[in-house]
């Protein structure tokens, strides 16, 4: 009897150890992946909603609208207070600099032809707004530099047609890349609205991701 008991005990330990070493990591991994999957979906939805509203003209420099956005992103702990929370939304309004844009920006010669319009033929930032904790992630499009952002994040035409730091890194997601020379029938002066959302990922080492990310072009 004594010998039997000892033998049973050992088997249980071995079984427990075996199951633990396979099942527990599986369960933890599933939990982490599941939580991050949910966060990915939440980030997708946040980018979509923010972009939708941004493209419709909602002014996200206004604190009230930032609060609305924070409510939409509350599951990611998006805060309307700059630098706070665990998520960020980066809103960019882009335009393609053509000769009309050069005229608007005053970068033309006496004959009305582009002159000194150094960003001619490039996509540039017209507006940039960041809501939430900007330390979470920077924009894939880059950050406008060397220009002055007004209180609503807009950039003067005279700057966006000339300042090199205002050119957007828009090659990777260029909706008009398949057309050479012209912008595929896009009327002059039109804009592309881009919303990027990112939130802190969930992790239990060794599982987890640093952050979630989603974007939308409207």
């Amino acid at each position: 009897m004594k010998k039997q008991r000892t033998s049973q005990s050992g088997a249980s330990v071995i079984e427990f150890a075996f199951i633990t070493f396979t099942l527990v990591p599986l369960l933890i991994g599933a939990a982490v992946v599941g939580v991050n999957l949910v966060r990915t979906l939440q980030t997708e939805q946040l980018a979509r909603d923010a972009g939708h509203m941004f493209a419709r003209g909602v002014d996200f420099s206004a604190s009230g609208n930032q609060e609305i956005l924070a409510n939409i992103g509350s599951s990611l702990n998006l805060s309307a207070t700059a630098g706070s929370g665990n998520a960020t939304v980066i809103l960019s309004k882009l335009t393609y600099v053509d000769s009309n844009a050069c005229t608007t920006g005053g970068a033309v010669n006496g004959g009305g032809q582009p002159s000194g319009c150094t960003n001619l033929g490039k996509w540039v930032f017209v507006q940039r707004l960041v809501v939430g904790n900007s330390a979470i992630r920077s924009s894939n499009l880059g950050t406008p530099t060397g220009v002055t952002l007004s209180s609503n994040g807009s950039i003067a035409a005279s700057q966006y047609v000339t300042v090199a730091g205002d050119v957007a890194n828009f090659n990777s997601i260029n909706p008009y890349s398949n057309v050479s020379g012209t912008i595929s029938g896009l009327p002059s002066g039109q804009f592309v609205y881009v919303a990027e959302a990112s939130g802190t990922g969930y992790s239990i080492p060794p599982y987890g991701v640093g952050s979630t990310y989603a974007f939308g072009l409207f």
Binding site: M1, Q4, S7, Q8, A11, S12, I14, E15, F18, I19, L23, L26, A30, V33, G34, L37, T40, L41, E44, Q45, A47, R48, G51, H52, A55, R56, G57, V58, D59, S61, A62, S150, S151, N152, S154, I173, N174, P175, Y176, S177, N178, S184, G185, L186, P187, G189, Q190, V192, Y193, A214, F215, G216, L217, F218
Partner: protein
């Protein structure tokens, strides 16, 4: 022995069970993972087609290749190989039915399965679709250039230009009405001379056409807009309404959205009147006018605009006890010299800003005590008026009870009394009433279904938010009527917010059109 055998049998049972259950567990885990992947891909694809529809939908009705642009937005919104997916197949259709334009975007993508391959299923097809609809719009932009705008004209020109540029020349119809002491239709310029409420084209699609000769477009008119005098809100929105009706009558397209966008920085202080109107005579017996209501005809009508007089930017001329009286002035006269461009750009001098001239000539023969205030601020005799006209030139009533919610009444608390025509406060209440009544009449036109959007600039002494909410029929309006078109009221306090307000309204108008 029996217990020993039992114990022996239990040995390794858990391991066996675990081994047996593991494939089942993994299968269900795999099913969950595969379904999650499909859900993630479906969410991304749904967002992508939504972005494509909205991005391309803005360009509906323009010359842009909407189908191609929608496809490019879709490709840009859906990263290649997202979660291993492949074979993104879009289906984009654009239909143009009169003024109604629709872009429908749908797409499918194949997502490889990881675990469900055990069931001989290699992939699953995920689909999403979105539709954007855009109506062409017919917009009358009403810009207040009253004297209190003296420091904001440049900002107004910039913001209004941005507004106009958000619409599509060639499909959207735009017109411009200038709000001042004597409001008038500035664009189309062909409305002048010989302007009448029954002729002309109303707003048109050529508002951004190249300027040739003396033919101005709406943008050049806005860029040249100069300061005016008073705030005749009722006439401005009524002219805008009539312009919309003209255009609607021409193209007979009931699907176009009819919109008035009113920008103002103050409260109404005047309206246009027909003093010796036989049906609503405002003259007193001491006026001695030759052409009294009994004998008046079209050539002897005493038409002009009347307004609370004064020069103060503090609105003291609205004070019931400190009023500086009222004035009676010529409506703008249009001829080959005095075109709409002339009146838009006329800066005036010596009090003659937008023709701030007392009414004289034949209709005023023998009249006494109908003087006006000559030069700005110096009140003279208007005691020939027995009453504030019961209606304006266009038939909109000057009475009502809603004014009690307005800022003037809220400040002074004195009831409207039409028998005090020379009191600036009472004239202010009448002007408030007629603007409100005109707006309600416009909103109630079920054939036109006009939506009114109002922008109030608060930086020049304040606006009447109650009135502007009522005119726009917002849900916060005291007179909100769900059977009317619901508009929007936006406030601005500086150059930046003015720009934003115009942008916000334009987006709302376009949303209405989507």
């Amino acid at each position: 022995m029996f217990r020993g055998a039992q114990a022996k049998k239990r040995r390794g049972t858990a391991l066996v069970l675990y081994t047996v259950l593991l494939p089942t567990t993994l299968l269900f885990c795999g099913l969950a993972i595969d379904l999650c992947m499909l859900y993630v891909v479906q969410t991304r694809l749904s967002s992508a087609v939504d972005g494509a529809a909205l991005g391309a939908g803005r360009l509906l009705g323009t010359t842009a290749n909407t189908s191609e642009i929608a496809g490019e937005f879709l490709n840009a919104n859906y990263p290649s190989g997202y979660w291993g997916s492949y074979n993104l197949t879009p289906s984009i259709s654009v239909t143009n039915n009169s003024s109604l334009h629709t872009v429908a975007v749908s797409a499918t993508v194949q997502v490889p399965l990881l675990f469900l391959r055990l069931l001989r299923q290699q992939y699953c097809t995920v689909a999403a679709s979105a539709t954007a609809v855009r109506r062409d719009v017919r917009v009358e932009l009403v810009l207040d250039r009253s004297y209190s705008m003296i420091d904001q004209m440049s900002n107004l020109r910039t913001a209004a230009t941005t507004f106009v540029n958000m619409f599509n020349p060639g499909t959207d119809e735009l017109g411009l009405v200038i709000l001042s002491g004597s409001s008038f239709v500035a664009y189309p310029t062909s409305e002048m001379p010989n302007y009448s409420l029954t002729s002309g084209t109303g707003p048109d699609v050529h508002f951004a056409d190249s300027v040739t000769g003396s033919n101005q477009n709406m943008l050049t008119l806005i860029s040249a807009l100069q300061l005016g005098s008073d705030t005749n809100t009722s006439e401005a929105i009524w002219l805008a309404y009539m312009e919309l009706k003209k255009a609607a009558a021409i193209d007979s397209d009931p699907t176009k959205a009819n919109v008035i966008v009113l920008f103002t920085d103050g409260v109404p202080n005047g309206f246009t009147s027909y003093l010796n109107n036989p049906s609503s005579n405002a003259l007193g017996s001491n006026s001695n006018c030759k052409y009294d209501p009994a004998t008046s005809s079209s050539s002897t009508q005493m038409n002009g605009w009347i307004a609370a007089a004064g020069t103060s930017s503090t609105l003291s001329f609205f004070s019931p006890t400190n009023s500086t009286g009222i004035g009676f002035f010529n409506s703008l006269i249009f001829d080959t010299v005095h075109s709409s461009y002339y009146w838009v750009t006329n800066v005036g001098s010596g009090g003659y800003v937008d023709d701030l001239v007392e009414v004289t000539g034949t209709p005023m023969t023998n009249c006494s005590h109908i003087g006006g205030y000559g030069s700005l601020g110096s009140g003279t005799d208007m005691s020939g008026l027995a009453t504030i006209p019961s209606q304006d030139y266009y038939g909109n009533s000057t009475s009502g009870t809603a004014y009690t919610q307005g800022v003037l009444y809220q400040q002074y608390g004195i009831a409207y009394n039409s028998s005090q025509p020379t009191n600036g406060y009472q004239m202010g209440l009448a002007s408030w009433n007629v603007a409100d009544n005109a707006a309600q009449k416009i909103l109630s036109d079920s054939n036109m279904n006009v939506a009114i959007y109002t922008i109030g600039f608060t930086g020049d002494g304040g606006v009447d938010a109650v009135l502007l909410n009522r005119m726009a029929n917002t849900q916060s309006s005291s007179s909100y009527n769900s059977s009317y078109q619901t508009g929007m009221y936006v406030e601005a306090s500086d150059a930046a917010s003015m720009q934003q307000a115009f942008g916000q309204v334009a987006s709302e108008v376009l949303r209405l059109a989507h």
